[in-house]
Amino acid sequence: MKLLWAVAALLLSCWRADASTAGFIISPLSKMKLINDSVELHCEVIGNPIPEVQWWFIEGEESSETFTQLFDGARNERVRVNATYIEHATSTIHLLSLTLDDTGTYECRASNDPDRNDLKKTPKIKWIRSQANIIVIESPKITADPTEVVNQTSAILRCNLTESNLSSKGSYWTLNGKVIEDTKSDVNKYHAQLSLEKITHAESGPYECVFDTEPQVKQTIEVKVLPSVGAYKHSEHGNENDKVVLKCVAHGYPLPTDWVWFKEDAEDGREMPISNFTNERYNIKSTPNQTLLTIDELDMEGDSGNYICSGTNELGTNTDKIKLRVRSRLAALWPFLGIVAEVIILVTIIFIYEKRRKPDEVNDDDDVGSAPLKSNSTSNHKDKNVRQRNSN
C-alpha cells in the first residue's frame, strides 16, 4: 500500500515538474555613475510559463523602506523599460539624465505563478527578486590649466584630479574624440600633462584629459587658432560664356562661421565685396568647411582678375587669393590652324618630292595598274632587241 502511495506521489511530482518555477539567468549589476550620465540594468529570467518581469525602486533604511514600481516613462520620461518575452523573459531598464535622487536600490522581480497578482496573497511569497545598487555622484573637480588656449604657438595642457574619493588607474588624452598615441600612462594617475610644441591648424581642436576611474571622468581644454584658409586652386581658367566655380577650403578649430568674397579691382587694387545680390551671375554657397563662388556667363574683360576669399571665426580672419583667367572662345583656334597648316605643308612637300624623284613611275598612285607602264617600256626594249635580231 505504501509503495503504491510512493509511486503515485512520484508520478504526480513528475507530472507537476513540467511546469518549472522562475529563475534568474542574468541578474542586474550595481554601478556608480556621474550626474547627467545614463545607466542601464539588465535582467533575464527563465521559466515555464514565461515569467513576467517588473522593476521596483527601494528607498530608505531597513524596516522603513518605500517601494515604487518603475514603468516606462516614469520620472518625467527619464525611465525607459524594454522587455521581450520570447522563450524566456528579458528586461532592460534605462535611466537617463541621472540626478542625485536616483541613488538607491533597484530590484528586478519575476514570477510565473498564475496567482502572482492576487491581492489576497503576500507578494513576497510568489515573486523572485534580484537587486542592484545605483549610486549617483557629483562629477569630481578636475582643475585644467589653462582652461582655453587661444592663438598661441605652443602650450602645455595640465589636468589635476583632486578632491575625489575615486581611485584612478591611469590617464590619457584625446583630440576630437580620438585617442592620442603615447599619452596612455599608468604612472600619471591623478595628474595628466600634454605639451604641444607647435600649434598649427592641425593641432587645434577640443582636447580631453581622461582619467581611468570608475566611472571615467574627463575635462575638456579647447585649443583655438585662426582659421587656415586656402584656395583649392590658385589659378583658375574659365571659357567665355561658360561658367566657373572658385573654391576655398578651411582647416582648423573652430571652423569659420562667416565667408566673404571680394573682387580685386583691376586699376586701383581695391577690394569690392561680392554677394549673391551683387550680380545675378554670382552665386555663393558656403559651409564651415568650404565656400564656392560660381560665376555664370563669363565675360573676358570684366571677370578676369583676382578674387579673394576670407573666412572669419571667433578669433579672427584669414584670406587667400585666386587668379581667374577667362579664355576667349577662339583661344584654341590658333594652335589648331597652325597645326593644320603644318600638316598641309608637310603633305605637299612629300608629294612634290615624290613626283620630282621618279616622275615616270609615280603617275597613278592609286591605280594598281602601274606595272604595265613599266612593262611597256621594257617590252619596248625587248621589241627593239627582237627587231635588231630580226634585222640581223
Binding site: H237, G238, N239, D242, R327, A331, A332, L333, P335, F336, L337, G338, I339, V340, V343, L346, V347, I350, F351, E354, E361, V362, D365, D366, V368, G369, S370, A371, P372, K374, S375, T378, S379, K382, D383, V386, N390
Partner: protein, 481 residues
C-alpha cells in the same frame, strides 16, 4: 624553308629603303589608333560634370569609339583592297579631325557619342588596317622586325599623349583640347602621304621569261597578283559573284590557319585588355597611393615599349621565323600564366614585379599579333583577313572589361578576375600550340606535294618551250638564207 602560306606575292618586296619610312608612318598611324581612345579618358571627369551625366554614360564614349574602330575594319579592308593604303589613311585622318572638331562644339553627350565615338572610331579604323597591310607589301624577310617596330607606336604615342592631354586640358579646357587634338591627329594624313604604294617590278617569272607574248601576260598576271586577290577573283570568275565577295575574301573562312587564329583570338580577347584597365584600381585596393599606382602603369608601358622591337627582332631570327606560330602561342600562354600568378603578388614590390612581367607579356603578344596573321594568310589576303578578324573580335573586346568588372563586384576581390583572365589566355595558348603543330605538319605535306607537281609541270613547260624555240630558229634560218 618556312612552310608559310601564300608567300608568292608575284614580286620581291624591297625589305628596306623606303620601307623603313613606311614603318615610321605605320608607327604613327597604329600609335594613334590604339592610344587615342585610351588617352581621352583624362577628359571624362570634366565632361561628366559639364553634362551632368553618370560615370557609366561617359564610359560609353570609349566603348562606342572602340566598337566603331573594330566594326569599321571590314569597310576599311574593302577600301584598301580597292584603292590601296595611302588614300584610306589620309581619309581616316581627315575623319578623326572633323570628328574631334565637331565634338568641340558639342552641346549634348549624344553629340559627343556621334562625333568622337562613331566618326572618330571609323577614322581610326581607316588608319589601323592600311598601316598593317602596307608593311606586308614592303617587307618579307624582315617583316617580323618591321611589325614589331610599327606596333611600338601604341605605347610610345600613349605615353606622349597622356601628359600632353593633361597640359592641353589645363590650358584650354576640354573644348579647346578636342579642337587641338583634332589637328594633332591630322598628322596621320602626313603618315598616309608617306605610305607610297610599293613599286612592283615585273621580274623573276622564270617560266615566262623566254617568250615575248607570254611575257606581257606574265606582267599582267603579276600586277593582278599584287593587286587585290578579290580583283583576280572578279576577273577570273564570272560576274555572277556576289558584291560582298568581290571586295572581301570570304573564302578565308575555309583557310585552316585563319580559322585557328580566329577561334583562339576570340577567346583570348576576353581576357586581354581587362588586366590593363584594372591594374591601377587593383593597386589602390591593395593600399598603395595614387602616385605609386600610376607609376605601375608607367613601368608597364615602358617595359612594353622596349619589348616590342626586341620581339620583332627575335621573331626575325632564323631560329624563330620558321616556327613563329609557336612563339606566338608561347606569348599567349605566358600572358595567361602571368595573370594566374598575379594574386600571389604581395605588397607593392610584388605588384612592380607583376607589372614588369605583364609588360613583357603584353608587348610580346602585341608585336606578334598581326605578324602571325600575315604569316598564315599571306600579304595580299591579309587586308581582308584583318578586317574580318577585327569585326569578330569586336564582341570580346567590348565585353571583356565589363565582365571582369562584374566579377570584381560580385566577389569583392580582384583575384577571381585575374584567375578568369589567366584561364581566358592560357586555354587559347595551349590550343594554338596543338593546332599549329598540326597545321605545320599539314603545310609541310602540302608543300612537298606541290614541289613534286611543280617539278613535273616545269619539265613539261621546258620541253614545250624548247620545241617552240626550235621552230622560229628554223624559220629564221630559212628566212635568212
Amino acid at each position: 624553308m618556312p612552310p608559310t602560306a601564300a608567300t608568292n606575292l608575284g614580286y620581291k618586296p624591297p625589305d628596306g629603303g623606303w620601307g623603313w619610312v613606311v614603318v615610321f608612318a605605320s608607327f604613327i598611324s597604329i600609335g594613334f589608333s590604339y592610344a587615342f581612345p585610351k588617352s581621352l579618358t583624362i577628359y571624362f571627369k570634366e565632361i561628366q560634370e559639364y553634362f551632368s551625366v553618370s560615370y557609366s554614360e561617359i564610359a560609353w564614349l570609349s566603348s562606342v569609339m572602340l566598337a566603331s574602330m573594330y566594326a569599321g575594319g571590314p569597310i576599311s579592308s574593302m577600301l584598301v583592297n580597292r584603292y590601296g593604303s595611302r588614300p584610306v589613311v589620309m581619309v581616316g585622318g581627315l575623319l578623326v579631325c572633323t570628328g574631334m572638331a565637331l565634338a568641340s562644339l558639342g552641346t549634348t553627350i549624344i553629340h559627343l557619342y556621334l562625333c568622337v565615338g562613331v566618326i572618330g572610331g571609323f577614322g581610326l579604323a581607316f588608319n589601323l588596317q592600311p598601316a598593317l597591310t602596307i608593311i606586308g607589301t614592303y617587307f618579307q624577310v624582315k617583316r617580323p622586325l618591321a611589325n614589331g617596330l610599327a606596333m611600338t607606336g601604341s605605347p610610345v604615342v600613349l605615353s606622349t599623349l597622356a601628359p600632353l592631354n593633361q597640359f592641353l586640358f589645363d590650358s584650354f579646357g576640354w573644348r579647346g583640347s578636342f579642337l587641338i587634338l583634332g589637328s594633332i591627329v591630322l598628322n596621320c594624313c602626313v603618315a598616309g602621304a608617306l605610305m607610297r604604294p610599293v613599286i612592283k617590278p615585273a621580274q623573276f617569272q622564270p617560266d615566262n621569261d623566254l617568250s615575248m607574248s607570254s611575257r606581257k601576260g606574265s606582267v599582267e598576271a603579276a600586277a593582278e597578283n599584287v593587286g587585290s586577290q578579290s580583283g583576280e577573283n572578279s576577273k577570273n570568275r564570272s560576274t555572277g559573284q556576289s558584291f560582298v565577295s568581290r571586295y572581301i575574301d570570304i573564302s578565308l573562312f575555309t583557310h585552316r590557319g585563319f580559322l585557328i587564329y580566329l577561334i583562339g583570338n576570340v577567346v583570348m580577347f576576353f581576357g586581354f585588355f581587362a588586366p590593363v584597365v584594372f591594374l591601377a584600381p587593383y593597386a589602390k585596393h591593395q593600399g598603395t597611393d595614387e602616385y605609386s599606382a600610376a607609376l605601375l602603369l608607367s613601368i608597364f608601358a615602358l617595359v612594353d615599349m622596349f619589348i616590342r622591337p626586341v620581339t620583332g627582332f627575335l621573331g626575325n631570327s632564323k631560329w624563330v621565323r620558321p616556327r613563329i606560330q609557336y612563339f606566338f602561342s608561347f606569348a599567349v600562354s605566358y600572358n595567361g600564366v602571368c595573370h594566374l600568378l598575379c594574386p600571389l603578388a604581395s605588397g607593392y614590390g610584388g605588384l612592380v614585379v607583376y607589372a614588369v612581367f605583364f609588360g613583357l607579356a603584353f608587348g610580346m603578344l602585341s608585336a606578334l599579333l598581326f605578324e602571325v596573321l600575315m604569316d598564315l594568310v599571306g600579304a595580299h589576303r591579309f587586308s581582308s583577313a584583318v578586317g574580318l578578324v577585327t569585326i569578330i573580335e569586336c564582341g570580346p573586346v567590348l565585353l571583356g572589361p565589363p565582365i571582369s568588372g562584374a566579377l570584381v563586384d560580385i566577389f569583392g576581390d580582384y583575384k577571381y578576375m585575374y584567375y578568369a583572365c589567366g584561364v581566358f589566355m592560357l586555354v587559347p595558348g595551349i590550343f594554338f600550340f596543338i593546332m599549329h603543330y598540326y597545321n605545320y605538319k599539314k603545310l609541310n605535306e602540302e608543300q612537298r606535294q606541290s614541289v613534286v607537281v611543280d617539278l613535273m609541270t616545269s619539265e613539261e613547260t621546258v620541253e614545250l618551250k624548247i620545241s617552240q624555240i626550235k621552230k622560229p630558229c628554223n624559220k629564221t634560218e630559212d628566212g635568212s638564207f
